[in-house]
């Protein structure tokens, strides 16, 4: 048994001796090495070890939670968790996980990631910069870098659960700026569980995007025109609008645009929305969620019909549903899971399925529309209604089935659920991404929709 698991067992024992009727100890040990790029150089190399314990316990039907960074502090923090229990609402149907039916996802561990030396990491980052500079002599590889690391996480509880998993990750990205008469920028990134990305290709793509956004013109025709949300823009919209509306906790309370619509057609029959905690190589794929429920594939919307919502253990027990393997320990404003927060509902690897075509083919069917790479202000959307008003900063004009020129920023206004009910088509350019502010893993394609109001 490894050191963290042994510590967790001792903390569990202390919790049970201190008056808990039931207890669960979560641990996380994550090590990350980062190579940061600023203005064409790797100017900052860093390492980070994040290690700690989350204690969740029940006294009667009431829950308390505390956390600490070391075993010694966690043994004391048990008292704090117990002290908080009288406040808790009564959770009569709540029990810690007794599940044993875990499946191990493929492609979540890569030895090459573990063995990387600082100089090698820096050399990979350098490949991104050099490739970007080859595209255009005026390119500035302004920002970006590589994060490489591994984690080991586990959960034990007094019901006999003892489960752990480990994984590796490698994230690389570059933000390239072209400053010539005026300024334009492009970004490209790859998130993976292995060191399988082409670093030069990332740098080249970022630079090529910056070049292609140069010299934008004003959009001439405002109004409701077809919009192709590139996978990166769709990810931004999903994080703040669609995904939170698929959480059972919001839906059951009538705070989601999908509340009470189980079994109804809520989206275009061309698409299905699926969350899969076992997706091979998925950014959050793991045997279990952060409270010891086996990860699984959940079909949320199937051919446009709403099938289910996502639940952590607390919301599942409250509403008499089954937990879906979506208990994630995430803090507000943090895209990563942590020992410092009690579990809430979180999407694992959210994806859109349906019959797909090449993105160029999708665009070839549009007479006049826009292709949007990123939006500003998706987080200001109204999550309860799905209404949004965002500023598209990186976009192209589509004319007669072809991407013709870059556009100056445009305002996009509309309702995302309504737009997803009016899908023109789905592209096959799936990209692995994550949430920026909320915990979320995703693998999303570009999507063309109708019904968005565009103002140039």
């Amino acid at each position: 048994m490894d050191e963290m698991m042994a510590s967790a067992e001792r903390i569990l024992k202390r919790a049970m001796e201190s008056g808990a009727d039931s207890a669960e100890i979560f641990y996380m040990d994550r090590k990350t090495d980062s190579y940061s790029i600023e203005k064409n150089v790797i100017n900052f190399t860093s390492g980070n070890v994040e290690r700690g314990f989350g204690i969740r316990l029940l006294v009667g039907p009431k829950i308390g939670f505390s956390y600490a960074t070391t075993e010694e502090k966690a043994l004391k923090a048990v008292e704090e968790a117990i002290r908080l229990t009288p406040l808790s609402k009564e959770r009569t149907n709540f029990h810690f996980s007794t599940r044993t039916d875990f499946k191990t996802p493929d492609k979540t561990w890569n030895e090459k990631v573990v063995g990387i030396e600082p100089q090698e990491g820096a050399d990979l980052a350098k490949q991104m910069i050099e490739a970007a500079l080859e595209v255009d002599r005026d390119i500035n590889a302004a920002d970006g870098g590589i994060d490489i690391g591994q984690y080991h996480t586990g959960i034990v509880n007094n019901e006999g659960l003892s489960v752990s998993d480990r994984g590796t990750f490698a994230h690389a990205g570059l933000y390239a700026v072209l400053e010539r008469d005026e300024v334009s920028a492009g970004e490209e990134f790859v998130l993976s569980r292995a060191l399988d990305m082409d670093f030069a290709e990332i740098g080249r793509k970022a630079a090529e995007l910056a070049v292609s956004f140069h010299g934008p013109v004003k959009l001439e025709r405002s109004g409701k025109i077809p919009v192709v949300f590139a996978n990166t823009a769709l990810n931004q919209m999903f994080e703040f609008i669609t995904v939170p509306a698929l959480y059972g906790d919001a839906a059951e309370r009538g705070e989601s645009v999908y509340s009470g619509k189980n079994g109804e057609k809520v989206a275009d029959s061309k698409i299905s929305i699926v969350d899969d905690g076992l997706m091979p190589g998925g950014i959050t794929s793991q045997k279990m969620d952060d409270e010891g429920i086996p990860s699984r594939r959940n079909v949320i919307i199937e051919n446009g019909e709403l099938k289910r919502f996502l639940y952590d253990m607390a919301s599942a027990s409250e509403f008499g549903k089954e937990p879906t393997g979506n208990g994630i320990r995430a803090q507000r404003l943090s895209g990563k899971n942590t020992f410092k927060a009690p579990p809430v509902t979180g999407a694992r690897n959210i994806t859109v399925e349906g019959s797909t075509v090449e993105r160029d083919k999708l665009i070839s069917e549009i007479d006049y529309g826009i292709l949007v790479y990123s939006v500003l202000g998706a987080h200001t959307s109204n999550p309860a209604s799905g209404d949004f008003s965002v500023n598209a900063g990186h976009l192209f004009l589509i004319e007669n089935g072809e991407v013709t020129k870059p556009l100056k920023s445009a305002m996009l206004g509309g309702n995302l659920p309504a737009a997803l009910n009016s899908v023109i088509g789905v592209a096959d350019d799936y990209k692995v991404m994550s949430g920026h502010i909320y915990f979320m893993g995703s693998k999303l394609p570009s999507i063309a929709v109708n019904g968005v109001n565009v103002t140039g």
Partner: protein, 460 residues
Amino acid sequence: MEDSRLISLAMDNGADYAEIRYGSKRGTSLEIQGNEVKSASYGEDSGASVRVLSGGAWGFYSTSDLTDAGMKSAMETAVKLAKVSAANVTEKAVLAEIPRATGKEIWAPKKNALDIPIEEKRDLLLDIARAVKEVEKIHSITTGYGDNTEMQHVVNSEGTDVYTEVSRTYARARIIAREGADIVGFVASAGGTGGYEVFDISDPIEHFAESARSAARILTASSPPSGKFPVVTDPDLTGVFAHEALGHATEADLVQSGSSCLAGKIEQKIGNDIVTIVDDPTLPNVYGSFPYDAEGVKAKRKVLVDKGVLKSYIVNRETAARYGIMPNGGARAESYAHRPIVRMSNTFIENGAHSFEELIEDIKYGIYAKGSRGGQVDTTRGSFQFSAEEAFLIENGEITKPLKDVSLSGMTLEILNMIDAVGNDLRLSSPGNCGKGQWVPVSDGGPHVRIQGAVIGGGQ
């Protein structure tokens, strides 16, 4: 292991500068849904980071393992990483001189939140929920409470040794108003630096009740017209504007990386004469305040724009040296585990001469935009977007019908010239968190401000 020995270890291995920053943050958080506690948590996150400069490049390592072995390994690794970076940098980092700082600065709360029984904190949230629910059309409310005390101890190879403690206390709420199929979500917060006394300084219950009234009003609001209109922003939205549109572009690390539209514009006129913009971390009880930054530099009030002229960037020691600006204490880190980067604190537009009535009386057809549901900026291009929480039409100098989903967008360098009147009712807004790869507590504000023509979107 003594700090001095750890520092010597780095210096003996070839570091030109070494720094240890211990940090710990302990506190309570509470979340209430309906009338019940959804979660209550208490914890302490503590650890340290070491940062070394060698050959003009940085190495950084952070850990929660504070044992001798853990700290020694962290320091050795940081030196190794700095040397890897040094082989790559073309512009060597140099640190601006600062006065050697030693001592303690503890911002002791008047009412230590850790001494307040957790039941009292819960009752405050229940009182807020009750007041909010009394407002018609309110469907549900989720409230949260948090208090924390953050300790920071910075020791460096130049003899700086500063210990600081700052407490922050806040409440927040997500209010859902609903009528038929229409649904409105509204987020509000209250609090500041300090202990439980932050709630004596301003009444949180009335604050959230007012938010609930706004949420209910929005239900009956219409979509705004699209296009360019005169806009009057309230202090909250003025603050978002100061922070998003201008503040971020004055962060010298963005200037240095070529990601700011304000590069090369120091001492240039970028706005109307009546526009003065300040970043001030020294204001008592305001959420974004702090005594010393994460490099052990004393926090300072910074006039960023003085009567329309760009005067200063916000700098850390490295960018201070690069741009010849006096270090102004602008390096902040989310926690011990994060590297210090250039950040804002409390950012606001200074008072002008006009009353609110004077700002709107000449407007034939325009928009009065209040509060913010958030905003974002592309500092490179100098474009911004932010959404008002609530808005009204202005017709013939009078506030008329309520509008919803109003968002403003524009270019920083254009809009500062379009501010043609500044109010005299400066107020700093509620607690906020600013994200730039790391999250730090901030605040912003200003008086009511009139913009001649801003692009309004959101109409459907």
